[in-house]
């Protein structure tokens, strides 16, 4: 299936799913009653907009598909993303971010920063040199120490190292 069609179908499904789930939550969830204007009035309006927008996106997609002009839905200058690379980057950075912050709380801010920065540079920087890998992470650790511990003085729970 064409990449644009897949993207627009997924977008429409996401909006529609979120809108319907939200309305079901309003219908069957526990909402505290309020006089005249219920407390869900704004979320409800937002859910209606989501459903309306989803129908709009899917309707336009159907119209263009029937006319055989799906390519017209491409955004000018829109960069087709490499989904595998985005997945790897998400896992490495956002998953790694979870691990990194857990380490900050338990192992120590500076040690965790140097280690995490070294891992990210080693995996992400093209043509990374050993010199760069040995110099940059400690520099970032030093910058974090100066900025956050010396200048701002952030409060962190006691940790194993520093």
């Amino acid at each position: 299936m064409n990449r644009t069609i897949t993207r627009e179908l997924l977008s429409g499904a996401l909006m529609l799913g979120l809108g319907i789930a939200g309305l079901l939550h309003i219908q069957y969830g526990a909402w505290r009653p309020a006089p005249l204007v219920p407390s869900y009035i704004m979320p409800q309006t937002a859910y209606y907009f989501l459903i309306g927008s989803a129908l709009w996106v899917l309707g336009i997609l159907g119209l263009y598909a029937l006319r055989g002009k799906v390519s017209a839905l491409e955004r000018p200058g829109g960069d087709a993303q490499d989904l595998v690379a985005v997945g790897v980057s998400c896992a490495l950075m956002l998953g790694g971010g979870l691990v990194y912050f857990w380490m900050v709380l338990n192992v120590g801010l500076i040690v965790s920063t140097v280690l995490f920065n070294a891992v990210l540079v080693a995996v992400l920087a093209p043509n990374v040199s050993l010199k760069g890998l040995l110099i940059v992470p400690p520099l970032v650790g030093l910058a974090v120490w100066v900025l956050f511990q010396r200048m701002i003085g952030i409060t962190l729970p006691p940790s194993l190292l520093f």
């Binding site: 309020a34 937002a46 859910y47 985005v86 992400l124 093209p126």
Partner: protein, 504 residues
């Protein structure tokens, strides 16, 4: 007004404030010149630091970054044909061609001067328009305010890269994120799904940094991982080698050449100022519209696209002229009309100031000092640009592979530092995932941020209006001002849809 400006000058020209403006401009130009990193991202990352600075210093730093970032985007656009920021895309059309013809210095100086002229024009309009508009806004009731919020949301959603439905959908998602936490009227928890950490609502900082900075960093990280950047770096090195043996003395912008670009600069300044004041229209649209109009009124339209200095001047002036006027809706009505204005609105909130008509009356000295800082930052931009221009084009050669990990770590630690809250870090990472997902599906991000920021205000206005009308929705169209806003929204959408079609 002059008296107030004189009173605020002691604050605006305090040595520390001036130092932060210098630092901000330098940082903004540096980040703006690196493709993938922008002034907006730098502002988002620095929001946690706003807590630890005096308001005037914090504003000096943020304004400096903003102004520097606007010009910095043109450096990569002219030097390597890669716009450092989306707003600099139009500048790259003629800028890169001029550089290939051996005129990089002329092109960069034209961009610098036109950027400063456009920016200053826009700042002056802001100073003289925002105050009277804010006085009008003070007479608004909930019905008018709801119409204004709806006007802004519809407009910013509709004008976001021409994707009306997706723009409206993400604005709705932004509103829903803002609804998480306690209901302001009943006090009951909403949309927290049993998680006590969410009962206080989502903080601005993690949502903004996650949506803007983290998602961008992850996307850039994916490009690095696939070594797509190799080609870019090779191109950069190749372009840098082209500059070897180049004699800058033969490439100085002369007075007649500068004079010839003034008409295009003024066109850009006028168009950019107007477009910037409209919620959602953005720098990119302003730059392209200025470019198109300048070509139409040029004596040498055939040179556009082939390295025309007029082309560079109009695009850069139009792009930069949105800088001041984009704050008009924020100062007058409390509505951030652009991503940058949303970030500044967040900074105001963090400093205990509420964006809107009362901002000017409650914080007169700070706001007038900010006005002066806006103008002063242009001067700093001009001076730094003039003296450091030969070195700036090398900035774009800093390896993103070393920058991206550092930016990511600063975002995480900075978010934690703002409130010493672990929940904020988890919200940041969640917002990052949401931002990446929305980017992959080609959703615009600015409406989400606008929805998140104005969601609580819009809800308050809607519920107050409905209570006034006894639960009847028709109360929303009982005010002539409100009707005027709804009509204006649809008229502007129509106008800009036609303009966008003409552009493409």
């Amino acid at each position: 007004m002059v008296d107030l400006l004189i009173e605020a000058s002691a604050l605006a020209f305090h040595p520390y404030v001036l130092m932060y403006v210098f630092l901000g401009v330098l940082l903004g130009i540096t980040l703006g010149a690196i493709p993938g990193l922008s002034g907006d991202m730098a502002i988002a990352l620095l929001l946690p630091f706003v807590f630890f600075l005096e308001p005037a210093m914090a504003m000096g730093l943020l304004v400096g970054i903003y102004k520097g970032g606007l010009f910095g985007g043109s450096i990569a656009a002219i030097s390597f044909g890669v716009p450092g920021t989306p707003g600099a895309a139009a500048t790259s059309i003629d800028g890169y061609q001029a550089k290939l013809k051996g005129k990089p210095s002329k092109a960069l100086h034209t961009a610098l001067y036109s950027s400063v002229i456009g920016d200053t024009t826009s700042d002056l309009v802001l100073i003289f328009i925002a105050v009277p508009l804010a006085a009008v806004a003070l007479t608004f009731g909930p019905i008018e305010f709801f119409a204004l919020y709806a006007f802004s949301l519809i407009l910013i959603a509709a004008l976001s890269q021409g994707m009306v439905a997706k723009g409206l959908a993400v604005a709705a998602i932004g509103i829903l994120l803002a609804m998480i936490g306690r209901d302001p009227i009943t006090g009951a928890s909403r949309l927290t799904f049993g998680m006590p950490g969410l009962s206080g609502g989502l903080s601005l900082i993690p949502v903004l940094i996650g949506i803007f900075a983290i998602s961008e960093v992850v996307i850039q990280g994916s490009k690095l991982w696939r070594r797509k950047v190799d080609k870019l770096m090779d191109d950069v090195a190749e372009q840098a080698s082209l500059l070897q043996g180049y004699d800058i003395r033969k490439d100085k912008l002369t007075w007649p050449e500068f004079k010839a670009t003034l008409k295009a600069t003024y066109i850009g300044a006028a168009v950019g100022t107007f477009i910037g004041a409209l919620p959602g229209a953005g720098q990119s649209l302003a730059a392209f519209m200025s470019y198109g109009l300048a070509q139409r009124f040029s004596r040498k339209p055939e040179e556009f696209g082939k390295g025309s200095l007029e082309g560079i001047a109009s695009a850069e002036s139009g792009n930069s002229a949105t800088a001041g006027s984009t704050f008009i809706p924020l100062f007058a009505f409390g509505i951030p009309g652009s991503a940058t204005a949303a970030l500044f609105g967040a900074a105001f909130i963090l400093m205990g100031m509420t964006p809107g008509p009362s901002l000017l009356t409650d914080n007169t000295e700070i706001i007038y000092a900010l006005f002066l800082t806006l103008i002063f930052a242009n001067l700093v931009n001009l001076v730094l640009g003039k003296f450091l221009l030969p070195y700036y084009s090398r900035i774009a050669m800093i390896q993103p592979g070393y920058m991206i990990p550092a930016v990511f770590i600063l975002a995480i630690v900075g978010t934690y530092a703002a409130n010493n809250s672990v929940v904020d870090v988890w919200v940041l990472l969640f917002a990052g995932v949401l931002g990446v997902t929305l980017r992959l599906m080609s959703f615009p991000l600015a409406p989400l941020v606008l929805g998140f920021i104005i969601g609580p205000g819009a809800e308050r206005a809607l519920r107050q209006s409905m209570i006034m009308g006894g639960g009847d929705w028709s109360v929303l169209i009982t005010s002539p001002i409100a009707i005027g806003f709804y009509v204006a929204a649809f008229a502007l959408i129509l106008l800009f849809t036609l303009a966008l079609r003409a552009k493409t």
